[in-house]
């Protein structure tokens, strides 16, 4: 079965979409590659796509993110060239998440280094019945 995936690079990454495309060509698998401003779209048989994804991820483990896509690249039902321009459906979610990708990348780098997570503030929790009663008494007595 065919599969399509987005390969998105974090703005912090030194890897360019063209580098990813070249790496995929080097693998010599039957994969269609489309370069975009945020990364590449890859399309092919599921096994080939999985093998490609593993290789591409190795290029920059913390800064490369992979996502499934429903439509093949250039599908006239989604391609802007056939729909008169404008953002394609799904762009806004990717734009929204791209803004926090550098933060996630730093989190992944910290995890890869084996650093402990920063000590958190005490978790928010609901007051117990006794605490609630005490609060009410304090406020209204």
């Amino acid at each position: 079965m065919k599969s399509t995936k987005y390969v998105v690079t974090s703005p912090d990454s030194d890897v360019l979409p063209s580098d990813i495309a070249l790496r995929i060509y080097e693998l010599g698998l039957e994969i269609n590659v489309k370069e975009t401003c945020f990364g590449v779209i890859i399309d092919g048989e599921e096994e080939d796509v999985s093998a490609t994804v593993e290789e591409v991820r190795k290029m920059d483990e913390s800064n490369i993110f992979i996502k499934d896509r429903g439509f093949s690249p250039g599908d006239p039902r989604r391609c802007r060239g056939h729909r008169g321009g404008g953002a394609r459906p799904g762009f806004y979610m990717m734009q929204h998440e791209s803004e926090i990708l550098p933060l996630i990348s730093r989190g992944l780098t910290s995890e890869a280094r084996g650093e402990d997570p920063p000590a958190g503030v005490e978790a928010k929790r609901r007051p117990t019945l006794e605490e609630l009663e005490a609060m009410i008494n304090e406020e209204f007595s």
Partner: protein, 145 residues
């Protein structure tokens, strides 16, 4: 390998983190893909088959807005398939033209009542929160296997 539903169901960050840990992320694009390869649909998921509203009716009554039922036709089978879930709370991207507040509520409700391992958290706003975010997800996913 555990099937982990991510919410928002189009989230790249969550799907990627889940697949990094060797689990299968249940995302809406996989459901859309099934429709894309089905002949006879001009513009899925905007076009529906007569079967889709029936699937949606399983989760939302007939007087519920049709958009909820249409979305549930895609999300419902994912919820049934899910063995664990990671949900982002209070995120703006799940509202507006790309989302639906009632579907969000219904999905979270169904995931909670399904009694599967569920992690609810918010998108990070700074580096410290991001490190905690990644750590919590890693801890949750490692606990599943």
């Amino acid at each position: 390998m555990v099937k982990v539903m991510v919410y928002p169901p189009t989230s790249m960050i969550l799907a990627d983190l889940v697949e990094r840990k060797g689990h299968e992320a249940l995302v809406v694009s996989k459901e859309v893909r099934k429709k894309v390869v089905t002949p006879g649909l001009d513009s899925p998921p905007l076009n529906m088959t007569p079967e889709d509203p029936k699937k949606g009716l399983k989760y939302a009554a007939v007087d519920v807005p049709s958009g909820v039922r249409g979305r549930m036709a895609l999300l419902g089978p994912m919820i049934e398939e899910a063995e664990a879930a990671i949900v982002i709370k209070g995120d703006d991207c799940t509202l507006g033209c790309t989302g639906c507040a009632r579907t969000n509520e219904l999905t979270r409700f169904l995931l909670k009542t399904k009694r599967i391992p569920l992690l609810e958290l918010e998108y990070p706003e700074d580096e410290v929160e991001a490190k905690r975010f990644v750590f919590k997800i890693r801890e949750f996913l490692e606990g599943l296997s």
